[in-house]
């Protein structure tokens, strides 16, 4: 096992898949000569050349459209959005084309592509550059939505995404790129729809994904040390497909659940999880399912306000204690 960063893990996945399959290519803004805004694609232009690492104009709908077209004729594009906040310009391409073509053409044409890049905020990028919006994509039939939190998961799932014959929304997080973690040696992939129990516990189930997984693990350690409360932390890893079996098995054990995400609370993905828990595990609940989520406000620029708008470790601890009252 090698200890590497989330960024390096992604780069390893891209490199290995590009070496394995000549149809895999990358496109995006400043991914080549500039080496990528978050340095994920560093060195890849030099290694694979301009035909496979394509710097595009600043046009997200152009990037998405080009990727879709390439995928339709058999290539396997991995398109980078500098951030998923910019993908809003490409939303018609993603929702009306990438997600629909398989259905519109009666299953004859596949769209094997990956849209990847950082989602979320927390780095004072202000209201227009701090979106999460995974619930938007999870809402659209035909899209897979992946949100890994650790280097190992990021690598294994990016490889799975590249090999998938359908469009995959692969959401990274700017605050995760420099985090380190152990990554298995050699070839491996991680299937979608398999949540990972990152911490075992019997008192409360915390369900989360992406960057808040780390926050939840810290909060769980604190609760165990100071209060003797043992939380089970479930990292969903992919929202679509969603591994309800793991969630339900945990809730049937703990009888209490808290869902944590950075995205706004209102109509966020936590609502979907809470709804399914009460639908399928109603008689196992001893308390309402609580959500810890971003405030329902445009994300502020000011550091203190931005902090207040995103969920914190303390928020998670409070919610856990509330379901234990």
């Amino acid at each position: 096992m090698a200890l590497i960063t989330y960024r390096e893990a992604l780069r390893q996945a891209l490199t290995e898949e590009m070496e394995r399959d000549p149809n895999v290519f990358l496109l995006g803004e400043e991914i080549g000569r500039y080496q990528g805004t978050f340095r994920v694609t560093e060195g890849l232009l030099q290694r694979f050349g301009g035909m496979r690492v394509v710097d595009t104009p600043i046009s997200e709908s152009g990037i998405a459209g080009m990727a879709i077209g390439a995928a339709m004729i058999g290539l396997r594009p991995v398109a980078e959005f500098m951030t998923f906040s910019f993908a809003l310009i490409a939303i018609d391409q993603i929702v009306n084309h990438a997600a629909k073509i398989l259905y519109m053409f009666g299953g004859q044409i596949r769209v094997p592509l990956v849209f990847r890049g950082p989602a979320g905020g927390g780095a004072q990028l202000s209201a227009q550059h701090s979106h999460s919006l995974e619930s938007w994509y999870a809402h659209i039939p035909g899209l897979k939505v992946v949100t890994p939190a650790t280097p190992a998961d990021a690598k294994g799932m990016l490889k799975t995404a590249i090999r998938d014959d359908n469009p995959v929304i692969f959401m990274e997080h700017a605050k995760l790129y420099s985090t380190r973690g152990e990554v298995p040696d050699g070839e491996y992939t991680i299937p979608f729809g398999s949540a990972d129990v990152k911490r075992k516990g019997q008192d409360v189930t915390i369900i989360t994904y992406s960057q808040p997984v780390l926050m939840a693990l810290h909060a769980a350690d604190k609760l165990a040390e100071t209060e003797g409360i043992e939380c089970e932390v479930i990292d969903l890893r992919s929202l679509q497909p969603l591994d309800m079996d793991t969630i339900l098995a945990s809730v049937r054990k703990t009888h209490r659940a808290v869902v944590v995400h950075e995205d706004h609370r209102n109509a966020g993905f936590g609502a979907e999880i809470a709804a399914r828990i009460q639908e399928f595990a109603f008689d196992d609940l001893d308390a309402p399912v609580l959500r810890v989520a971003g405030a329902d406000v445009p994300i502020p620029y000011a550091r203190n306000l931005e902090r207040a708008a995103f969920p914190s470790e303390e928020d998670i601890i409070r919610a856990v204690k509330r379901v234990l009252v």
């Binding site: 009888h255 008689d283 609940l285 001893d286 308390a287 509330r322 009252v325």
Partner: protein, 414 residues
């Protein structure tokens, strides 16, 4: 906006009853204004406003009993709107709940004339409901400790555990000749008041779990009655007179200081003898009794004991005892002498290990040492003691000491 909640006024308090709202919705209140009177297990207490503003959204009606922490009203600041929309769910509703929600079809025949009246919906978590159903438990019997009084898993588990732990009292087979009165024949019974309910629970538990034994002593009161007369004659007109009870209290304080085993607490298989003497004085009040505690009797003079006892009794009778004024007794005295009771036995007040039952001072013929018979004032006291902590010999020694003090009362005013 400030919420008015049912306050916790003492360790054992889990719920309280609204006796009276002193302010109405819409009234302007200032911090500290008394807005309601609340009855706890032991006393009625005034509830002061903790914020200034307009009283709104009174959720607990007069007579409602709600769990501690329940929002019972709100105090709104300028321009604020009421927030809480659900009424406080009374643990014990003041009135029988009305007919079930929704119309019942007129043509529908009644299932059974003895069917229980419709109840308020019981708030319980889904898990608690499932466990209760599996265990055959009626959730209406379970007290909820979750948010807003919700019954949660632990409440049902505790209920099940308590049910299993309840002692199986062997019930004598009813003789066929004397059949017990039919339960159904009893009508119009009165529900227990909160105080009666608490007395019922405590005394039942105490009698079932504390092994009582009793030792009685007959005391010659000639000297102590003479002392009392002289002391009271010397007191100013308006000073509180010293009663027989005060003398017994003082004598007990002295005897307890010498026998700390009797002045002890028993808890979790441990005995804690105390050098501080806090004596609970049983006081009859309408509908029950209270035991205000006279603290540090070991350092109080007879006149202090008399004055403070009088104050505490007055407070108890007017329902104004603070919670720390009726807790923490290390010993208790129950005196029914004023009713002419010859002697009786009292139930211990745990965690203390003993209580003294005091009868009337009555003239009795007594055989004196020279074999003549004289008439003397006598008083019988009976000590109830917890056999887990005390044995008969210690109880007897304590009573002998008490007798010695009362028969040589000048030691009390040294």
């Amino acid at each position: 906006m400030a919420q008015v909640i049912m306050p916790k006024m003492g360790d054992g308090m889990t719920e309280g009853t609204i006796l009276r709202w002193l302010k109405k919705e819409g009234d302007t209140v200032e911090i500290g204004d008394i807005i309601a009177e609340v009855e706890t297990d032991k006393a009625s207490v005034e509830l002061p406003a903790e914020a200034s503003g307009k009283l709104a959204n009174i959720l607990a009606k007069e007579g409602d009993t709600v769990p501690v922490g329940t929002v019972i009203a709100e105090i709104l600041g300028e321009g604020e709107q009421p927030q809480v929309t659900t009424p406080a769910e009374p643990a014990v509703a003041a009135e029988e709940p009305a007919a079930p929600r929704g119309e019942i079809a007129v043509s529908e025949p009644e299932v059974s004339p003895t069917e229980a009246p419709a109840r308020e919906r019981v708030k319980a978590s889904p898990l608690a409901r499932r466990i209760a159903e599996e265990a055959g438990i009626d959730l209406a019997m379970v007290r909820g400790t979750g948010p807003g009084g919700r019954i949660v898993e632990r409440d049902v588990q505790q209920f099940i555990a308590a049910r299993q732990a309840a002692p199986r009292v062997p019930v004598a087979e009813p003789s066929p000749a004397v059949s017990p009165p039919e339960a159904a024949a009893l009508t119009g019974g009165e529900p227990l008041s909160r105080m009666r309910r608490l007395i019922a629970e405590r005394t039942t538990l105490t009698k079932q779990t504390v092994p009582h034994f009793y030792v009685t002593m007959d005391i010659d009161m000639t000297e102590v009655m003479a002392l009392r007369e002289r002391l009271n004659a010397a007191l100013p007109e308006d000073a509180p007179k010293i009663s027989v009870n005060d003398l017994v209290t003082k004598a007990c304080a002295l005897a307890l200081a010498r026998y700390p085993q009797v002045n002890a607490l028993y808890q979790n298989d441990r005995v804690y003898p105390s050098s501080e003497v806090h004596i609970g004085i049983m006081v009859a009040v309408p509908g029950g009794l209270l035991a205000p505690v006279l603290r540090h009797c070991e350092r109080k003079t007879l006149r202090q004991i008399a004055a403070e006892t009088r104050q505490l009794v007055e407070k108890a009778r007017s329902g104004r005892l603070a919670s720390d004024e009726y807790t923490g007794a290390t010993f208790s005295i129950s005196n029914l002498g004023m009713y002419g009771v010859d002697e009786f036995i009292a139930i211990i007040n745990p965690p203390a290990v003993a209580i003294l039952a005091v009868g009337a001072v009555q003239k009795q013929p007594v055989a004196l040492d020279d074999d003549t018979v004289a008439v003397r004032p006598r008083m019988k006291v009976t000590l109830s003691a917890d056999h887990r902590a005390l044995d008969g010999a210690v109880a007897a020694e304590f009573l002998r000491e008490l007798k010695r003090i009362l028969e040589n009362p000048y030691t009390m005013i040294e």
